[in-house]
């Protein structure tokens, strides 16, 4: 990495002081590009760690019976896998993209709060080291599922307070990141970059940041109550002491549902940048895209009960949550229709970022369909806590959020490194990923409908066949991500020289600066031309 940015510095003869040398550069940096890089590399590492855990899960589930791991360890794996993927892989990847791109997209020299930016990143390695270390503590790591439901979570061994502290750290990091995004977007836009001219990635991140600030403290409150229930004799969630275990679920999902939109709204933003570029046509319905994002964000606060249809809520509450959840399909549909309309009568080419974006639209929509099915409360009484749910959230998270991150990396990597990636290899990576992900997750719909519960290390014999298929898909998908790592390293080190605009159809301020982007960009606010702004 260091070599590249030095190239930047020397190649363009910047007047500024360039990056510092050695490790100190990365430890003390306040540069948004350095911090973006750190976030992205950290996220990649966590993606591989969390992915290895998923492969342990899938290897155990290749056959019925217990072959490789003890059920208690299996439960630690499902819990850790999810916590690491959600808080370590997907969220930091989007914060990394925000760090790199938001200042360049709104014409700002850096993020508004650079020192806090450094801190919000450097908390993460400590948080995740602590989280991972719990696997080696007496009693093992958390094994209650990432949803941490009491009373089960209170049976965690010595790891318990460390898990809670790790979650607090992740929350603090996210909140600081979100404050920085909001401060940057509200205060640092170049003159003429009005709100309604901001690229969609900026808009979706702005709304995501508000979601983060609203719900991360709620999660912090919930896990703190768990802590006091265990160590200070409170009874928030203990019925014997006058509390209610379901109260935890309400609080958790009040955080949890907006959280899933935190992981998908920036993905919507990424795809809304890429599809117009490769369709050579402006984004269709820019305004309705902004309103739809805001509508989704608002609705995401009033649907949490759909995760809890089976706890026994009053009929009226079930009806309310069912209707509210179904409503989310409307703005989500608007987004999909707008993407299709953007492609309509464009002049498309299918470079890797576009391939990943198209796969995103189709496969995310399939996840949306199963989401709509899950919203129907009476049917959810059957679907809930089965592999059908596992299939649903993986369709929206893997070919959803993760594919959009892949698309974003291929799209902006030439701007970051100054080199084109290897188009042939990246296409192979794309096709292996699409095939792998569908072989992995599509059969899980069948498994769930046929009655296989989730979070089990073993299953009845009629589920054998599709579990085998799913596990084969997991290994295809998992191993092909190593190709991605290879392509990224290769691009950082060498590759054809990228032009400043990189893509023929690209519009936006980030494409007006040289490739690789110099260490400091937009010290003087740029002039916004209509071609480079939306709206």
């Amino acid at each position: 990495m260091a070599a590249t940015t030095h190239d930047v510095h020397d190649g363009h003869g910047e007047h500024h002081h360039g990056p510092a040398k050695g490790l100190g550069r990365w430890l003390f940096t306040t540069n948004h590009k350095d911090i973006g890089t750190l976030y992205l590399l950290f996220s990649l590492l966590m993606f591989l760690v969390g992915g290895s855990m998923a492969l342990i899960i899938r290897a155990e589930l290749f056959q019925p019976g217990l072959q490789l791991v003890d059920p208690h360890f299996f439960n630690q794996m499902t819990t850790m896998h999810a916590l690491i993927m959600v808080f370590g892989a997907v969220m930091p990847a989007f914060v990394g993209l925000a760090n790199w791109m938001l200042p360049m997209m709104v014409g700002a020299p850096d993020m508004a709060l650079p020192r806090m930016n450094n801190w919000s990143f450097w908390i993460l390695p400590f948080a995740f080291t602590m989280l991972l270390s719990t696997l080696f503590m007496p009693g093992g790591g958390p094994a209650s599922g990432w949803t941490l439901y009491p009373p089960l979570v209170l049976q965690t061994g010595d790891a318990f307070p460390f898990v809670i502290l790790a979650i607090h750290l992740m929350g603090i990091s996210s909140i600081m990141g979100a404050i920085n995004v909001i401060a940057t977007i509200f205060n640092m836009r170049a003159p003429g970059m009005t709100l309604m001219r901001m690229p969609l990635f900026v808009w979706t991140w702005l709304i995501t940041a508000f979601l983060l600030i609203a719900v991360m403290p709620v999660l912090a409150g919930a896990v703190t109550m768990l802590l006091t229930d265990r160590y200070f004799a409170t009874s928030f969630f203990n019925a014997a002491g006058g509390g209610d275990p379901v109260l935890f679920q309400h609080i958790f999902w009040f955080f949890g549902h907006p959280e899933v939109y935190i992981m998908i709204l920036p993905a919507f933003g990424v795809v809304s940048q890429i599809i117009p570029t490769f369709s050579r046509k402006p984004l269709f319905g820019y305004h309705s895209m902004v309103y739809a994002t805001a509508a989704i964000a608002f609705l995401s606060f009033i649907v949490w009960g759909h995760h809890m249809f089976t706890v026994g809520m009053p009929l009226t509450a079930e009806l309310f949550f069912m209707y509210a959840t179904m409503l989310i399909a409307v703005p989500t549909g608007v987004k999909v229709f707008n993407w299709v309309a953007t492609m309509w009568r464009g002049a498309m080419t299918f470079e890797t970022p576009m391939l990943f974006s198209i796969a995103f639209v189709i496969l995310f929509t399939i996840g949306g369909f199963s989401g709509l099915m899950l919203a129907i409360a009476p049917a959810d009484f059957q679907y809930h806590d089965t592999y059908f749910v596992v299939a649903h959230f993986h369709y929206v998270l893997v070919p959803g959020a993760v594919f959009s991150i892949m698309a974003a990396v291929y799209y902006w990597l030439p701007k970051w490194t100054g080199h084109m990636y290897n188009e042939r290899l990246s296409r192979i990576h794309f096709w292996l990923s699409v095939i792998g992900v569908n072989v992995l997750f599509f059969p899980q719909h069948f498994l769930g409908l046929a009655g296989m519960p989730r979070r089990v290390p073993d299953y009845a014999l009629q589920f054998t066949e599709w579990n085998m298929v799913s596990s084969i898909g997991a290994f295809i998908y998992g191993i092909s991500q190593l190709l991605f790592v290879y392509i990224v390293i290769q691009t950082i080190r060498a590759g054809d020289k990228a032009t400043d605009r990189v893509w023929e159809g690209a519009h936006g301020l980030e494409w007006t600066v040289p490739s690789p982007a110099p260490y400091h960009t937009f010290d003087k606010p740029p002039k916004i031309s209509t071609a480079d702004a939306h709206g």
Binding site: P245, F284, M343, G346, A347, Q382, A460, Q462, F463
Partner: protein
């Protein structure tokens, strides 16, 4: 000549047998287990119909939207020499594709609401069984008949650890099944003695959490005698996968007999 004919005949025969055999193997295996069971209660069938209705609506919408997308991807590609259009806004179509889905959703919500109201109406039941989840087994208490017993996994450990061949009902078998009469409106209460569990027999059409300190109220009316199997659906610790549910639905007469037997054997063990 003869030999050739015979050889061909044999080949056709063997391939035919192989085909039949493989079809039978597919039918027996899990390859065809793709969908939700229709179940054996009026409610489970309503839920199934609702599920299929929404599935088909999604399939139709998906075919339309992806159809347009693939059409566009084929015809509107640069390599065909097209010039990109520059349109990028139309309030009219935005309104249309907001309102049309809204109407479709209302169409789904109506039957869903009806079914939900039926499912939640627990009045007028004829008998009550209280179900309590434990780590990791179920307890069944027949409140009107004064019968109570535990129901625990009966699959031997050797099968779980792959030291013995697995039965057909591997990890779906218990020592004492829950016995219920058909054609009877039964109230099922769920609760727990430790962590949260979830009691689920797919053929009844629902699952419901068993929560410590709280009692959930449900009902069912089974229409066909038979053996129905289910599982705990809420992660409850190490042996969550190993606390199955087996339900024997029997005729009212058989049920009365079974009740008598149970009461006698409790009386005997009490006398000892």
């Amino acid at each position: 000549m003869h030999i050739k004919c015979l050889a061909r005949f044999c080949a056709v025969l063997t391939s035919g047998v192989l085909l039949l055999w493989s079809m039978a193997a597919v039918a027996e295996s899990g390859w065809l287990q793709l969908n939700m069971p229709r179940g054996v209660t009026a409610v489970s069938r309503e839920v199934y119909d609702l599920h299929m209705l929404i599935l088909w609506i999604c399939v139709v919408i998906g075919v339309l939207v992806f159809g347009v997308m693939f059409y566009s991807m084929y015809f509107h590609r640069k390599s065909r020499g097209v010039k990109p259009a520059q349109f990028h806004e139309s309030t009219k179509v935005e309104v249309v594709w907001t309102l049309v889905p809204l109407f479709i959703l209302v169409g789904m919500a109506v039957p869903a609401t009806k079914t939900l109201i039926t499912m939640e109406d627990t009045r007028d039941t004829e008998m009550t069984v209280k179900i309590t989840g434990y780590q990791w087994r179920w307890q069944y208490e027949y409140l009107d008949q004064d019968i109570s017993f535990f129901s625990t996994l009966s699959t031997p450990r050797e099968q779980i650890y792959n030291l013995a061949e697995k039965n057909t009902d591997y990890i779906l078998e218990v020592d004492n099944p829950l016995v219920l009469p058909v054609d009877t409106r039964i109230r099922l209460l769920t609760t727990s003695a430790d962590v949260i569990h979830s009691w689920w027999v797919p053929d009844l059409g629902w699952k419901r959490d068993a929560i410590p300190g709280f009692i959930n109220d449900n009902w069912t009316l089974i229409e066909e005698p038979g053996i129905y199997r289910g599982v705990c659906a809420e992660l409850c610790g190490r042996d969550h996968a190993y606390m199955p549910i087996v339900l024997h639905a029997v005729s009212k007469e058989e049920f009365a007999e079974w009740v008598q037997q149970q009461q006698q054997s409790t009386a005997i063990s009490a006398a000892h």
